[in-house]
Symmetry: C2
Subunit: 421 residues, 2 copies
């Protein structure tokens, strides 16, 4: 395996032309934080890594847009926004090492999607090198541009199968001023939709997360943290909103009280300071890391938010029926219908046997998902790991059109072959 570390878009174009001439496959590599094997080079491909294309190039104050190279780290971009009194709202656990090019190639989501959308919503322009080695400047920061197919949106989420993203123009927004967190315990998930309806009617939520009592117990034990809410529930919801005026704070409190009265909530706490807000976020943010030693089998799935509780109940049933000794850890983003299903092996089981068992359950889970119109990969992409299951979320006709599009941009099939489609 060879690694190329280009410094410019032109160098990337040269590499792709050379690869075409010599029939060498290319695998793009960003921060190597992917969870679906999209950047795995397992067949002697040439890895093109963007670690040396890590510069912020230009910032324009009026448009609040920044142009940067693909290798810029997410956290670096967030910090650059903060330094300019602005805000880059796409945020997730791997912000410290994921690169902006990789975020765009997978249309990364994260924890603030309910308010701020996905990476797609912040990309105002792209420079790409297609699978043919041609450089395209896509949209260049224009807000309105009705001149044909928006190829920018085609490259977003394409997982390196059409070409390589080398530069991006990203827009920032005004930062929130007083992010406030509510942590609520709830009896079960059946009323979570009503709870979401109640709050979103009057409050601009920036997050509506959830996790199970099992997840909470593991975090408390691992990090020696106290129980955050007095009354124990089966699940917990973490709500965040910007209390930037008295009116807004009052509306959130009214919704909270209505939730107690309507018995949608068992108990809850609200942060009184930024520090308290951060403390409460830990119970949600620490989950992934806490269970990582147990090598969980991860499924990153989504339905529309109204179907979350139905879907969760059905999957819980499937897993507990098939494998009563497997532990199930649920957490994720109710606000956008994205559930992270993490299955933990019994201590006695080998990792290979466990993975094989989980893969046997996948078709059952994905069938439920298909019937509910859901997605087999909400935000982790398809890569290698989800490719066998793509037909649960996309029709044969759609997959055929995707292959047709790939052939237009990458006729020799050298760009990340074997991934996605």
């Amino acid at each position: 395996m060879a690694i190329a570390l280009p410094k410019t878009t032109e160098q990337v174009a040269e590499i792709v032309k050379w690869a075409n001439d010599n029939n060498i496959a290319i695998v793009p590599s960003g921060g190597r934080t992917g969870l679906s094997g999209g950047a795995v080079a397992s067949n002697g491909e040439l890895v093109v890594a963007f670690d040396k294309m890590n510069k912020v190039l230009e910032f324009e104050k009026t448009t609040q847009q920044v142009k940067c190279q693909a290798g810029v780290i997410t956290e670096q971009l967030q910090q650059f926004a903060t330094d300019n009194e602005l805000y880059y709202p796409v945020d997730f656990a791997s912000s410290g090492s994921s690169q902006i090019g990789g975020n765009i190639a997978t249309n990364a989501g994260g924890i603030k999607v309910i308010r701020y959308g996905l990476t797609r919503d912040w990309v105002m322009g792209l420079t790409v090198v297609t699978g043919k080695g041609e450089i395209l400047e896509l949209n260049s920061g224009l807000i309105k541009n009705a001149t044909g197919y928006d190829l920018r949106h085609l490259f977003i989420g394409s997982e390196g199968t059409l070409g390589l993203i080398t530069e991006a123009t990203i827009k920032f927004t005004r930062p929130p001023t007083n992010l406030t967190v509510l942590l609520l315990s709830i009896e079960d998930m059946t009323k979570v939709t009503e709870l979401l309806n109640l709050f979103q009617k009057d409050v601009d939520l920036t997050a509506f997360e959830f996790f199970s009592e099992e997840a909470l117990q593991k975090v408390m034990a691992h990090h020696q943290l106290p129980r955050p809410v007095e009354t124990q529930g089966a699940f917990y919801c973490l709500l965040e909103f910007d209390a930037d005026s008295e009116e807004r704070l009052e509306k959130a409190l009214e919704s909270f009280e209505a939730g107690l009265e309507q018995e949608l909530i068992l108990d809850g706490v609200m942060s009184q300071s930024q520090q308290q807000a951060e403390e409460l976020w830990k119970y949600r943010e620490y989950i992934s890391e806490t269970i990582s030693a147990r090598k969980p089998y991860k499924n990153d799935i989504s339905v529309t938010p109204d179907k979350v509780s139905e879907f969760l109940a059905k999957v819980d049933n499937i897993v507990s029926e098939q494998y009563p000794d497997f532990e199930v850890i649920w957490f994720g983003h109710i606000g956008d219908g994205n559930l992270h299903l993490n299955i933990l092996a019994p201590e006695s089981m080998s990792y290979e046997d466990f993975t094989a068992a989980c893969e046997q359950v996948n078709p059952l889970i994905f069938n439920v998902l298909k019937n509910l119109g859901g997605s087999i990969s909400a935000e982790h992409g398809v890569g290698l790991l989800k490719k066998p299951y793509l037909n649960y979320s996309r029709s044969d006709a759609e997959i055929a059109y995707m292959k047709g599009i790939k052939a237009v941009f990458d006729p020799n099939n050298i760009m990340n072959p074997g991934k996605l489609i």
Copy 2:
């Protein structure tokens, strides 16, 4: 010319299959409000109109999403949102007759883009019939769905050249509670960027429009309206924001006062009621209709908002040098860099001579645009009228890829042939 009026997606698919078998070209027709000739059938094509597919199908409260047929009128959708205490924020002059399918096919923008984005940002799912006659269900309302190329975004803005949009899932949002309008007179356009910076720093603007003194004079004369701001300027800016709390209203007032102090503003008025806000909007909204009797030559162009004043000055120079007796009426959306350039013929000139003269000026204007990285069609689409100029905004390589994509979805080139590309 024949017109088909299908009632279902399946009927549309049958029509497209039949057209493929008989080599008949299809032109989709929505509300027939387009300004670029995208729905013109001039070669005996079969027109497929969506007037009988005008039903709202489903509404889901939690997701705030509505599924509707392509022939639903924009205003009907806005009203449906209001009836459910929600808001569909895409709004423009032709809302009373434009159809949602046409809005999506051209990615319509309008007057609230600075805050709410374009049609694209509200489309959560599409049902389309491709040029091959295949039905695709694209995304189905999921917020997070990282399973390959987002074909939904490819169809948005494709102007009926890839297939026909038959149904759409649209999301709504919470309605604003107290929309407030500031109408400001300014000395010239050189400081408009500073003015935008000043306000957007602290105020969530829902609109930042502008128009020239010439435009204002015509509206006042035609509609017998009084001068809205005491001190006359060369241009006027109309700002709208949601004064949903005292804090927000104060911040807007502070920005206004700072604008006066810094001599960015000559004078201004602020609405004190919804009725006054509507009265102030009239000065901007009436322009198009007021000058329509003069059959203006329209160019709908955009640059990034920081370049608006430079671009406007350069175009003003070109037109006044080339045709000193032509009247130029400027208005548009500073907040998103979209300028509507309307040129009026001298009374003595024939319409044909006038149009020919304007077309001679187009390459000069589009060259300026190209050098500034702008778009030759900000929100009206390409259709027939802008097709000869597409290469000012898109490179040859991009146009070649667009043609490649069209061939994948419409191999017999029956979908709106001769339009866009």
